[in-house]
Symmetry: C2
Subunit: 449 residues, 2 copies
Amino acid sequence: MSPLPDLIRRLGSQVLTDPADLVGYSSDASRARPEGLPAAVVIARSSAVAAAVEWASSNYVRVSVRGSGTGLAGGAVAYPGGLVISLAELNKIVAIDPANRLADVQAGVITANIDRAAAEHGLMYAPDPASSRESTIGGNIATNAGGLRCVKYGVTADSIAALEVVLASGEIIHTGSRTRKNVVGYDLTSLFVGSEGTLGIVTAATVRLRPRPVGTTVTFRAAFPTIAAAGRAVTAIMTSDVVPEVLELMDRTSVELVEKFSPTGLSTDGAAALLVGQFIGSTATSDLEQATTMSRRAGAISVEQAEGDILLEARRVSSRALSAEGPRVSSDVALPIARLADMFEAIERISAEEGVPIPTFAHAGDGNLHPSVIVRGDSDEVSDDAERILDRITDTALSLGGTMSGEHGVGSLKHGSLAKQLDPATMAAHRLIKSVFDPKGILTPGRGI
Amino acid sequence: MSPLPDLIRRLGSQVLTDPADLVGYSSDASRARPEGLPAAVVIARSSAVAAAVEWASSNYVRVSVRGSGTGLAGGAVAYPGGLVISLAELNKIVAIDPANRLADVQAGVITANIDRAAAEHGLMYAPDPASSRESTIGGNIATNAGGLRCVKYGVTADSIAALEVVLASGEIIHTGSRTRKNVVGYDLTSLFVGSEGTLGIVTAATVRLRPRPVGTTVTFRAAFPTIAAAGRAVTAIMTSDVVPEVLELMDRTSVELVEKFSPTGLSTDGAAALLVGQFIGSTATSDLEQATTMSRRAGAISVEQAEGDILLEARRVSSRALSAEGPRVSSDVALPIARLADMFEAIERISAEEGVPIPTFAHAGDGNLHPSVIVRGDSDEVSDDAERILDRITDTALSLGGTMSGEHGVGSLKHGSLAKQLDPATMAAHRLIKSVFDPKGILTPGRGI
């Protein structure tokens, strides 16, 4: 007997089984494709997550979890015959607590909405993935998402104070605290942040807010003759005394594709790469002078002030602009900050050797690069050839002391490559944790760790 | 047959069994007392940690780990018949990497020495527990230690990039990365930081360095008629736009005892509490003006600039000064920043009701308080009465949304009280992790989690 009627009995209208819904909830924004339709989708409200997980656990049904489905690593793709739990309706900002600079939110809240609510109190929620107007805080927590402002304020993990998590057993635990310091117990909060739904399902969070930066805002745009020169400028800036609010890079192809997709007047003027940086506050003008000097010393052709909103918007739409061009496979490597120029040179070399364009944009100040291998020929499908070229990029990043994912997560796409980065004993330690939190292997199995 | 000869055969002169050594390595700086002598002490060099743990695991011998033995929660006290592993000789700063702002260090390096080595490159290792000239980075990592500068730069966990850890099996794992961002695998680094030796033994770390603050340094001393008024000033400052380098509090009794112990000319001039704050950088002077205004608004009797080194040194010796007076039991509660005044009022009330002095100093800007209950009468021993009064303080902190330990750790002293703070399901999740990493229960059992 199918156990589905039991799920429907428990959760009523929160359960969707219409084939059109099953299809709609099966994919995310990555190139990973579902291997079949799930059995059901639960649009969770209130305590439905625990009930849904209990049901899945009792029936050995694999569970994938999704917010807005903007993930880029295949973490939210449905399992054939599996259960999709959508947290999109758990979208309440429960409280903003300006006196303690905290916000209590449900997992399905759109990240930018937290920042907007904080702004009413002169505060901000700092992490701002390019997708922040669509992606949910739960998804950001699952992948430990980065973003443009992270170069100054840290990644999602650095802004999470406490979590409510539903475990594979359906039990609910509470991690962290509302204090600035707390050393009681293991740091389960950090363990769950970035765990990609493999250890439990985060249903609510207490996030840290910061003062919204005020004062003079200056944005600059520096053009470089080579992308490696831009990399050297980034290394210099990030090992100086100035701390940019934002320090992003776009190469020539990325700029051209963005202009085609959503014209803003941005241009490289023939340069190989643009660096876009921003400073806010009382030292902004002198910071800009220093960044200008360092950029010129690294070989910048021009450094000029520019309209920040346009530049940052261009960077935010980069991923969509590239995707609009056709199939590509994109990377998310991160490098030690001193190896940026080496990595950019390697990407150029690989592009030349393989004869394919590899447009690259980057959260440069964090050493986090998103090179994309454009799929050649007429194929609509991602080819083995493109994946092979992507592997060359990943291997190069690892050989330079980098990581294969800076912010998108391992998901299904990089799951098979983990052994490239983690030695066997370290991998075994990860798997121990997975096995003890999810002994039946129902929570996002075969992804992340 | 005793397994000791086997340990000696494996590790030679690194093994101490002389009774004088066994006594010397049995206690830490807390009030916890060993219940008996350990069987042996290993002064580990190179790969001895793994060999010693393997031996302990094979023979079901309980292991305690120590650096300088400055811990305040009984985490490093020896087990009767157990094995003490000292990491004090693993004291090499392997490399300072200014280009990536990282330092590679062994676990036994004295924390202040890392900061000193970083200073040669214009960098700093930010976390500075009051014990930083004696305590080791390994001990700081085990407890996720705080310190004076943590109010601006975060606690130890915020400065750890990667770890080498010896597991209970003797296997060695490597967590983290040398990049600013990394989402491959679970955040095992954060899991081990603060785990108090219960999951594995950290033998080496890659720590993050920051630019050493430069520019104008101003230090102020604000005197308040009540400690609660000082608390209100701290809350105001910490929810304003200024970010102090340091924001410490000492009440009248603490100041008097420090002056008796190590005269610096510090005085409360009859006020109930002093707040000591520092600002560094181009905005230091205007920051000071704002802090002065907020302090006066909260009721400060006087706010004046003062010699920073003297004030901060007074704060650093507070703990030793109080200990020199005789037996006391000290607390390490942390509060949400908006509840500081409530907590200070509660401490005054408890002190009055119980008729005992409770001198209090605090990393006030972090909401982390160290009230000490002075043991009454002639007893040289910590009394049940003092412990009961300490429990009242802990319970009050928890009822205000706080935590029972901000930076010292749970150790053996608070192990029995964990259920006050962690609900049963959350506690069970902690114990799952402990059980899977240490199935035989040999690593610092009965302490921390």
